[in-house]
Amino acid sequence: MKRIVAILIGGLFIYAGAVKIIDPVEFARDIDNYKMLPWQPSVWLALYLPWLEIFCGLALITRVFFRGGVFIITALMSLFIVVSIAAKTRGLDVSCGCFGHASKYLNFSWHLALDFLLLGGLLLLWKRPSPVP
């Protein structure tokens, strides 16, 4: 079960990273829409974050640096949730930017539901296997 969850989440993060690598300027605009960072840091983040997602996704699938990958993805998911809720409470109607252009079709509720679902899956990955009695 844990293996399947790791592959699904890892695959999703590789996909999410890949679609954003294609157009980093578009992703920088998505980050800038949250109005939390100046433009230049948004550009650097847009160049960096997709690669981090891909490496962490690969870590989950290949099990190389597995716990490091789970740790970073959990931290990223928590950050995405906080930032999304903060943007919503500030009245900003922004596309999450998680999956490039496809994010435009993901409304806030679906976006949040997906985030919490992923966070649930990640918590499952944190659990160590129970010792055999």
Partner: protein, 142 residues
């Protein structure tokens, strides 16, 4: 715990390498200073000077457009892009006119996105600008 931090640090470092390579590769194409070039904006007074040679595009949500808008403006936003675009192209659009897209100050990125999609996706040949200061700037100079 130590292994966890070491693995995390390695992943963070590994991701940095391709990001730097990509930044160097795209350095000419990335707008490092601002998300929109200053030349893409137009002041209210300048836009007004274009008089009849202009199409106003309201990029705000439909409800805000229905409440009030610049006279003669057409509503075109990302929530109903396909429908709005075909309606716009079939009725108001003309290749000779300048297009000025506006939104409100609170949601100002909407105009930038609509202007970019008109250029890149709809491939309109028009001179397409973004109204500086948006709807509020228009109201202030009404």
């Amino acid at each position: 715990m130590k292994a966890l931090l070491r693995q995390s640090a390695l992943l963070v470092g590994l991701a940095l390498l391709p990001a730097v390579v990509q930044a160097l590769y795209l350095r000419e194409k990335i707008p490092w200073q601002s998300r929109v070039a200053e030349s893409d904006f137009v002041e209210v007074d300048t836009a007004r000077g274009w008089a009849a040679n202009i199409i106003w595009v309201d990029a705000r949500p439909s409800e805000e457009f229905e409440r009030d808008h610049i006279p003669g403006a057409v509503s075109l936003n990302e929530d109903r892009w396909d429908e709005g675009l075909s309606q716009f192209l079939g009725t108001q659009w003309s290749p000779e006119k300048k297009i000025v897209v506006y939104c409100s100050a609170a949601s100002c990125n909407l105009a930038e996105d609509v202007a970019r999609r008109l250029r890149e996706e709809a491939k309109l040949p028009n001179d397409i600008r973004i109204l500086k200061g948006g709807w509020e700037a228009w109201l202030a100079k009404k």
